[in-house]
Amino acid sequence: MTPVATPFFFYMLSGFAILGGLLVITRKNAVHSALALIVTLLAVAGLYLMLYAPFVAGVQIIVYAGGIMVLFLFVIMLVSLERTVKERQFNRIWPIGLLASCALLALFLGVLAKGKTLFEGRPIPPLTESNNTQQIGLMLYGNYMFAFEIASLLLLVAILGAVIMAKKRI
């Protein structure tokens, strides 16, 4: 199926993503930041769908928005933040940080502007959506078998670490 109104949806979704990102780093209240981050994550999931990557979009929603963000919210509620809202929000070196980040942005844009020609006129190869999941499954259990196992091990270690860190008494 061919997407409709691609530019419109692209600009809408990326607008949401960037707006959400801005709100994440500017809100005083961490819950508002989390809400903004959820908007960003969902918008990025939409962008994945536009890039014919439905499985990644699904993973993004189920793991990020449904899992990680709930974890974040849980922790925000656990550590009472009423005090931090009234405190100074930015650290003392914020001008330097901002400057460095602007430099990074300039670097990115410069590279992209210079390499613009690489992307122009390139025919976008057809990538079928219909068997995307099957293909990814075959790849995960084929080429990337080892990486997949390592990733599961990483998750196991992370679970153990988180439990040990967060539990009062073991």
Binding site: M1, T2, V4, N29, V31, H32, L35, I38, P54, F55, A57, G58, V59, I61, I62, A65, G66, G67, M69, V70, L73, F74, I76, M77, E129, S130, N131, N132, T133, Q134, G137, L138
Partner: protein, 441 residues
């Protein structure tokens, strides 16, 4: 117009509007589903109050309309015109947006619910993943509501529900995976030849039902009792997911007054309720799709043949005629006092409407059988698909009420222990055994 109607009804060429890239039909489908779910929620509201009342030796709503039939409307009006209270200490924005998140999550799920091979808004390649993902967003609404109320009881309710929903999602997801695994196992070895695919399964909701059709077995009965165990695990987890009794801890009335929506009132509260019931229907339709053969009629193997097909095609009409008969029975048993005159007339009118629908639904398959007209055949198929799907979901809805009437409430630690120490190992075991059995057979 007729041609396009035909093209969407005809099973051989029919595709979902999403696949056919037809935005207009997609919109129409969305509107139909939205209206249908809203009506279903209202009906469920009435049915729950009535059925619960009869479980509990009382009558339930009797005043608004005959046998309280108009009670949901009265409730809706009452909730709409109630004062909208936002606590002064609440976080206004989050308080405002929390019910909407829950509602959006509950309703977005319906885009992939397959009422038939072409009766879905879209047949996504990642259908079931999408459903689980979006329905897991509902927990965000709950957490936000609890936090934004800035009050202790809602906060505890929110913490409880986030822990509960996330925990049961794990067992639920593993049970779903074992059903998905079954789509790829044809009893011919892992790489057995099949029409459906090259040994890989599918995540598409329509694909899952079609796999059951091709394998001639509902996954409930596949690799007996593996499918059954996975189904039972899902059936338990879905009650916990939707915060219903006996897992209704987040809104446990006797402990937390009303849990996360303690501070909500009026329209916002009704949005939570709408979302809860919509989510109940949504998870039930996942269960129906994965294990109970979705839109497929019962006993396709045992009672096969066109004669049986015809008999089963009469079911929708007979159901409505039966409902009409119940309404007429009620009319006949109405008190003869003039006070009840309007109610009696109303109930009779309702019965007439039901019977009329029943006759129309009965006429369509009979006419199709007689004339064998393409459009009529297509209409019959569509009707049957939707009917069987809705009928199966309705059974789950009744079970929800039954559970609520029967069981006490679990305690939080017991709930978590059951989720992690009972449900999770069993669902993992079922998944592994399913994989082994599937490869060996």
């Amino acid at each position: 117009m007729l041609e396009s109607l035909k093209s969407f009804l005809e099973p051989s060429v029919a595709r979902t509007p999403g696949e056919a890239n037809n935005q207009l039909w997609a919109l129409i489908y969305v509107l139909i589903i939205f209206a249908g779910v809203s009506v279903a929620v209202m009906a469920m509201n009435w049915l729950e109050r009535k059925a619960l009342a009869h479980f509990q030796v009382r009558l339930g709503p009797m005043r608004v309309g005959p046998h309280g039939l108009l009670q949901p409307i009265a409730d809706a009006v009452k909730l709409l015109i109630k004062e909208d209270i936002i606590p002064s200490e609440a976080d206004k924005f989050v308080f405002w947006i929390a019910p909407l998140i829950g509602l959006l999550a509950a309703f977005t799920v319906y885009t992939v619910v397959p009422f038939g091979p072409s009766q879905a808004v879209s047949d996504m390649n990642i259908g079931i993943l999408f459903m689980l993902g979006v329905s897991s967003l509902a927990v965000l609404g709950v957490v936000m509501a609890g936090w934004a109320s800035n009050s202790h009881y809602p906060l505890i309710g929110a913490l409880r529900s986030s822990a509960q929903m996330v925990s049961y999602e794990v067992a639920m997801g593993l049970a779903v995976v074992s059903a998905i695994l079954m789509t790829s196992l044809h009893g011919m070895g892992l790489y057995g030849v099949s029409k459906l695919s090259d040994g890989t399964g599918t995540l598409s909701m329509i694909g899952i039902v079609q796999a059951q059709q091709e394998q001639h077995v509902w996954f409930l009965f596949k690799f007996f009792p593996l499918g059954l165990i996975a189904f039972v695990i899902f059936a338990i987890a879905m009650i916990a997911e939707t915060n219903r009794a006996p897992f209704d801890l987040p809104e446990a009335e006797s402990e937390l007054t009303a849990g996360f929506h303690t501070e909500y009132s009026g329209l916002r509260w009704s949005l939570f309720m709408l979302a809860e019931y919509a989510a109940m229907i949504a998870v039930s339709s996942i269960a129906v799709t994965l294990w109970l053969g979705g839109w497929l009629r019962p006993f396709p193997n045992l009672l096969a043949g066109s004669a049986w097909d015809f008999i089963f095609a009469l079911f929708p009409g007979l159901t409505f005629l039966g409902l009409g008969a119940v309404a007429f029975l009620g009319t006949a048993r109405m008190p003869k006092h003039p006070y009840f005159k309007i109610q009696t007339i109303g109930l009779a009118g309702f019965g007439v409407v039901l019977a009329g629908i029943g006759i129309i639904l009965l006429a369509i398959p009979i006419a199709a059988k007689v004339s064998n007209h393409t459009l009529l055949n297509a209409a019959t198929t569509t009707l049957l698909n939707v009917y069987w799907f809705v009928a199966k979901v309705a059974v789950f809805m009744y079970l929800y009420i039954w559970y609520r009437a029967t069981w006490p409430r679990y305690r939080f630690d017991q709930l978590m222990r059951m989720g992690w120490k009972v449900m999770l190992p069993i669902s993992l075991g079922v998944l592994i055994v399913t994989a082994i059995v599937g490869v060996l057979l």
